[in-house]
Symmetry: C3
Subunit: 679 residues, 3 copies
């Protein structure tokens, strides 16, 4: 077995899905591939406990032994994402309920309600059993809790037991019902509650629900996810000393607070499916779904990585890396040749410790039979498998990668900000992920590395801080912003709400007025077809979707054609009073970066850079070669100064390494079908 690398590979493997006689061969092949970790058992409850209390450990003992004996580190999972049928039949009160007022049913996965006391009981029971059995197994190096919390719309549930749980949560938040009535403003439509026992989840109401109530239901639901997962982590920690615990988050997912959940993990993980996320996530424009269908948006994976990095102690995994076409999009494309390799390098460039591919071999039955893998159902290496192995070979030539540095640019994101926008989007076309993406994209189009940080994080070290929006600016948040000596740019609707989802009586941007002496006196949402423009330093830019109308004793930094302020500035504080266009933000951030001596590189729409120590990684999502003039005389560790389409280059600006770049990914991948190998 070769020496462990600083960046390395894992893979998702399901022994229960293959005949036992294949396990040993698979384990050897996994090791030979250059993979060090194998994640198992997250959907295996019905095999572990076929009937209540009858545990079948023998097969799993043998599977783990086979994998561990081959030298693989086993990442063990709790199987709670898929309660078996006998459990659902015995205790149907574990099921989640839809907002239509009816229970959801068995037949898919994640068919449980986070607030079900019964399911918490059952979770404790099965987690105790699994953790007790394998907690101190020498082959087990760490744990994943559950699988993809919140997927399939499961964060929110409206089951009968949710009512009481919500009431308790409210009582704990507000103390007295009068405080709740004040916070929600229930006097408004005669909605005053006499006790917490009166309050219910918001659904099927006539007309609009109280927005603070809806927001609190989202907060409560997020807390339920976190406390549910913590329950598992506590059990594992008790039984499995010295092993780490992680969870595999869904990418570009905003329904619960990952920062809050990550607090009880050792480090976070994420699932990364760029073409699928580009196809489905609101962050990306419809145009991208067509023009970037086979490569994904160039910020899609990177944002996912930077977001995950933000959750933890500079340590994170890609737990599921896309290795071929998926089957959950409106369309499901075949990643263009080179993309599996590109995305893998991109994850390492952003600091991933392990890239664990989903999955070793494509399963030929059930729900995900067209979710492609490193190997095809016939056992041959897939195109993605070839590319993954190429990265493995390339990595061998690298030696240890430098640890990722902190960037000089921060992007402040907040889950609650997303919920605050969701409860009152004000138009069909305004959403938080899209606004965040515009800010993130503009920074990356300037060749900047971006640290994503939560609200309240120390910003002292940053030269440029972007806050796409933050409706509620807490004292803690304000203190952090005030600690920033760089340029700090707030997007529209920042400071527009209090903690209780009320308009601040000083008017938006509320607490930010200490530094931005504005009063937003009217807000406006617009259809995408409406084309306002703004003028700034001689340029004219599109501006749409949103406008904050503000009065100020300042002159605006940029104005709309009707003279109203579009951007306001006071020293290093900036307020963008509209939903900005990417092109405007690029120019604006470039200007601020130049003020701060922060070096930028204007990149084409489909090229991105990312640094890791003295290394610079370049990625080309486009179809044209790109000349990496910014590399200057640096020596290339991978690729060369001409960055080919869907290719990666890495150079070391310290210039101390004499190594030649390896060739760009070869054309032989295109013909992989003629050179297939058994695995």
């Amino acid at each position: 077995m070769k020496q462990k690398r600083s960046c390395t590979f894992g893979v998702c493997y399901y022994p229960e899905q293959w005949p036992e006689e294949r396990w040993a061969g698979d384990a050897r092949a996994i090791v030979d591939f250059g993979i060090e970790f194998v994640r198992i058992a997250e959907f295996a409850w019905s095999r572990i406990e076929p009937d209540r209390g009858r545990f079948e450990w023998a097969w799993l003992d043998r599977a783990i032994a086979t994998l561990a004996d081959s030298g693989l580190g086993v990442v063990m999972c709790t199987p709670t994402a898929t309660p078996p049928k006998w459990l659902v039949d015995e205790r149907p009160d574990i099921l989640p309920w839809n907002a239509d007022g009816n229970p959801r049913r068995f037949g898919g996965r994640r068919h449980y309600c986070y607030s079900s006391p019964t399911y918490r009981e059952e979770t404790i029971r099965i987690c105790e059993a699994v953790a007790a059995r394998y907690g101190d197994h020498p082959g087990v190096v760490g744990w994943q809790t559950d699988n993809e919390h919140g997927n399939h719309g499961t964060v929110l549930s409206f089951a009968p037991h949710c009512v009481h749980a919500f009431q308790q949560w409210l009582e704990s938040r507000y103390g007295t019902i009068n405080r709740l009535n004040e916070a929600w403003g229930t006097v408004f439509w005669s909605q005053e509650y006499r006790s917490f026992a009166d309050v219910e989840p918001p659904y099927r109401q006539v007309g609009r629900a109280n927005m603070a109530q809806v927001l609190d239901y989202k907060r409560f639901s997020s807390d339920q996810v976190v406390s549910y997962d913590r329950l598992q982590a506590e059990i594992i920690r008790r039984h499995s000393p010295g092993r780490w615990i992680t969870h595999n988050y869904i990418g570009h997912f905003w329904d619960f607070d990952h920062f809050a959940l990550s607090r009880h993990l050792d480090f976070p993980s994420v699932n990364n499916y760029p073409v699928l996320m580009t196809d489905r996530r609101p962050a990306f424009a419809d145009e991208s779904r067509v023009t970037l269908a086979r490569v994904g948006h160039p910020d899609c994976g990177p944002f996912n990585f930077d977001m995950t990095r933000a959750q933890g102690p500079n340590r994170w995994w890609v737990m599921e890396a896309m290795s071929g076409p998926a089957d959950a999009g409106y369309q499901n494309t075949n990643p263009a040749p080179g993309m599996i390799r590109l995305w893998t390098w991109e994850a390492f460039a952003h600091g991933a410790e392990v890239v664990s591919y989903f999955r070793w071999r494509q399963v030929h039955y059930a729900q995900e039979q067209w979710w492609h893998a490193l190997h095809r159902p016939d056992g041959l290496l897939s195109r993605g498998g070839h590319e993954a192995r190429k990265v493995s070979d390339e990595l061998d030539q690298f030696g240890p990668l430098p640890p990722p540095d902190r960037s000089r640019v921060a992007l402040v994101v907040d889950y609650e900000a997303n919920w605050m926008i969701e409860v009152q989007p004000h138009s069909e076309w305004f959403n938080y992920p899209r606004l965040v993406q515009v800010f993130y994209a503009a920074l990356r189009r300037l060749g900047l590395d971006v640290d994503i940080v939560p609200v309240g994080a120390d910003l002292a070290a940053y030269d440029l801080v972007a806050v796409p929006t933050l409706p509620h600016v807490s004292d803690e948040a304000l203190r952090a912003f005030e600690g920033c000596r760089g340029g700090i740019v707030f997007g529209p609707r920042s400071g527009s709400k209090t903690q209780d989802y009320q308009i601040p009586l000083s008017m938006p941007p509320g607490p930010l007025q200490r530094h931005l002496p504005l009063r937003v006196h009217a807000v406006e949402s617009l259809r995408p077809e409406i084309a306002d423009t703004l003028a700034w330093k001689g340029g004219t830019y599109r501006a749409g979707l949103w406008r904050d109308y503000a009065g100020a004793d300042l002159d605006p930094e940029a104005s709309f054609s009707d003279g109203e302020g579009a951007v306001w500035r006071n020293g290093n504080w900036h307020y963008v009073a509209h939903h900005p266009d990417e092109e405007f933000l690029i120019d604006y951030f470039e200007h601020l970066a130049q003020e701060r001596g922060l070096q930028t590189t204007r990149l084409p729409a489909l090229v991105r850079l990312r640094r890791r120590g003295s290394y610079t990684f370049a990625f080309n999502y486009g179809t044209e070669p790109f000349e990496l003039s910014m590399a200057g005389q640096a020596s290339f560790i991978l690729g060369s100064s001409v960055l080919h389409p869907r290719d990666v280059a890495v150079w070391d600006h310290t210039g101390t390494r004499p190594r030649q770049g390896t060739a760009s990914h070869s054309g032989s991948l295109k013909n992989s079908h003629k050179h297939e190998e058994i695995a």
Copy 2:
């Protein structure tokens, strides 16, 4: 206190939403603003009766005293639109049910079913209490029942108690079940009923429901709204002698029969939100939602006004006038500078007695926190507030306005006509409000004032009568049409159904055949992309969406390119056998007007005129100035012969008034943020 005006202002005010110490100051400021009336208490049930039978009158006594003592006339409301939580919990059978077969829930407003016997009991109880308490209060000048009947899809409900109420209504309509079976044609799909006890509301059926049944459910539901509201009016009348009663209708709303409800009111009121209604109502084309996003369609408010005027004895209020951005559209725009003033003048031009703004001060919490007001949450005057006060100042210069005259042009509309189209639209693109809007717009593009009249109204005085469609032509309707000596123009589908929603055996247009010797032998609906054309007097026009194919012994007045008749004429009777294009109707109505010596003025798409006695009002919704050459040498009371964008002009054709026009709204509004005032 200054002298009361013939046209004046009101405002919506919610004492329960503000600290009591602000009431007196608010009352003074309201009076200073030039406002005479204040509407209160329509959502205050939970404050009036916090628990069953425990009435808290003191706060409301003080609020009314404060307002009345300042000289304001109080418009008191019944609080029935928002039954409190304790009532819903005690008597859940007040809730409305959706057509999915499940109850709707507490959490918004209007969460009651018009047919609930329980809610009628509770309504009587609370209305008796409120009316007994304040009925003879000297400060109370009038009453509003409930709030926005039918909003949030509440006209139709499918609760268990609806079944019996519907059966009783049917028995009263049809007498015997055989008569119902004949009327509905239940033999058709073996749907014959043996007794009224067999019949149910139409929902969740397999395939299409019987259309006469659906129509009757709409008629029944409308009647339930009317009888529910009448219940309130009777109580108020008993307790509050000498005060008037009104209801604030939603604009461009067709789900129940406003004419029928208005019969028990003293006069009707309406809520007017032009940019919101342009954004959401089917009457307006998608293009308008983009190009007119910040001004609204130039017929949107006016139709709303003329429709309300039609309900009453030439006396009506705008109960809620838009004073800034709303928050209930697909988008929510900020009305362009000048529009609040323009819409206010427009309401007066169409005869409003009072324009009551929604609302005095924007509330900073709960559901409508981004529904802007005359004042901002911080207490400063909003842009809309500035404009409203400008109108108040302008009005002071006017003296009494002449009373509105009857027009020489009538537009016949009918709620049942809308329901008849709804139960069988025949295509996804045909709706009654849009058809009505095309007729109304064409008349107004000719500079004509339009009286909207119900079916059966006396038409003798009109030179031109437009009937966009009237599927069922009753004897009474026919007599009224026959009383018209002017040109009378029927749109497609007129006379196509009997009272029982059957095709007349003489074929459509049924009873109209006495004057229009046609037989419509086939009907056709078309996608909007299908471009048929018609020829008339040398011109060619677009014609789409609908065609009636008719045989006649007449030659058609206008024909489609395939030779089929598109318009038929017999003397002063006209039949438009398609869904006409606005451009065609303008030319056609102009021709008819000239025949009758009715003077017309072709206006640009975004300019409108409206007369009131000897005064002519002109409104410019566009972005270009317009030369008011039609004013000739008349003296301008407001504005001048160049009508600026988003501006108003008024001239007196009697020319007897020497007064100079005031200036167009000043540019200072744009800079209102620099000149804010406390209110």
Copy 3:
């Protein structure tokens, strides 16, 4: 009474819907029209049995007598599509349930669940009664079971009783629960079942359901339709010796297996509404719904006919032929003048024995009052009626038509193939009917007649066989394909699944690999806007929506621009590895036809040919005349060598008939409203 023809007419008539005094006159007029058959009583249950057990036969006895005495052959129906209200009230467990978990209700039609044991009891009772009464009536020549099985989404139901029926069906299919667990791959998400009693219908699950389970629910539901209908056929056969039994299928309908149901019929029938089907069916492109709105797609009726012909022993009826505008589309157009005649001739050209118009007279009430007929509600002949009578006159001049020959071209279709695509379309834009339509259209654009055949049918006689897709290739299917000596062309996804809906371990195209040595290693779906191209023999073609990526030891016959194979060929076996464009398929099939000496004629997009014996029929759906040069010197029996728009021509290539062609349909139809006749 004139002599019976080899091709003749029927009509749908509803005595219960008209006063008895009109029956005799109607019967005479029907006979005079040239009609020989009349279909009755399919919605008459509430008249036949107004209360449980109280049968009212007298009226129906008289109706049948009246019709039969006039010389008409009566097609009697079972009235099971419309159970009366008293039955629903007594036994609500007959109702179907939606996938939302709530029952559907009375009020339309087809409100029964195929799996309801109660409804099967009631069906037996009413069918016994009707069949016993009229089974040996001399006027009754045949029977129709029920009406339009599956319409209004009734094939799938989720009622409580469905659970047990599904479990029984599964037990009978799989024998043991372990076999089911293997087939469905329930180990995948911990979904293993311990007994058949655990398994439930797939609905309201969280995330995606097991696709094999969904497929089995579709198979089960189709079987329920078939066994339900067979129940009726068995009763009728027992009581009505010597009469035939048919069912009137809906056109372009894929929810249950018509081949399976047809096995217990004597011959199949179909309802044919070309403009309605073009408007609503997924087979046709949105563009067709606009440009062909009044004529329907030129393959719409023909596919419907060929599909019905495929079900039976070369004998089939059009049971409901469109005779004017319908009222069930998103739009409802008036068929262009000439189309009723054209569609009638088209049905005869494709081999219809009887064209039975829907309906004799338009009913003026209830659900279908704007569904036009041969006669208008006022009794006059409609435009469609005129055209139908013209065909009747033309037919008199023909003498017996030659029997339809077998074609040299086959199109293999399969209902299960549709379900297999439906359970995993892989994109929002891939559907089976559209794919089938592209193959069918390409063949017909080459002037070829097409035999539609089920999977497993003998293909030995065909020169060209098209298989748009066949996901599961059974042994029987493979044997049939191997029996084909002509070119056989498979579409994408063929052979991609086993019988248990698993990917074959040899990879797709699975069993076809014996002849097509390919391995499809990745699949890809694409949005319609994504424009890939392929190159073949110097031409370039659009290719989108789907790609199979295959490895092979063959060189591809056609390739995409990225070099991947787009079409593969091995001898007479062809595999189209994408969703082909119609233009490509036309060129490709032309090439194959030329190889086989099969004569083709490239036709314009809106002209079609169809042969019947020595006769060739030509149809012009377009607006330009078309020169029938392919007719050469043949004598025209109908029309002439210039084929006018919306006209029909027929020539005899044996040239033995001296008869002159009749005139094209005269312009007098346009003026039919001036020359109306009473009927």
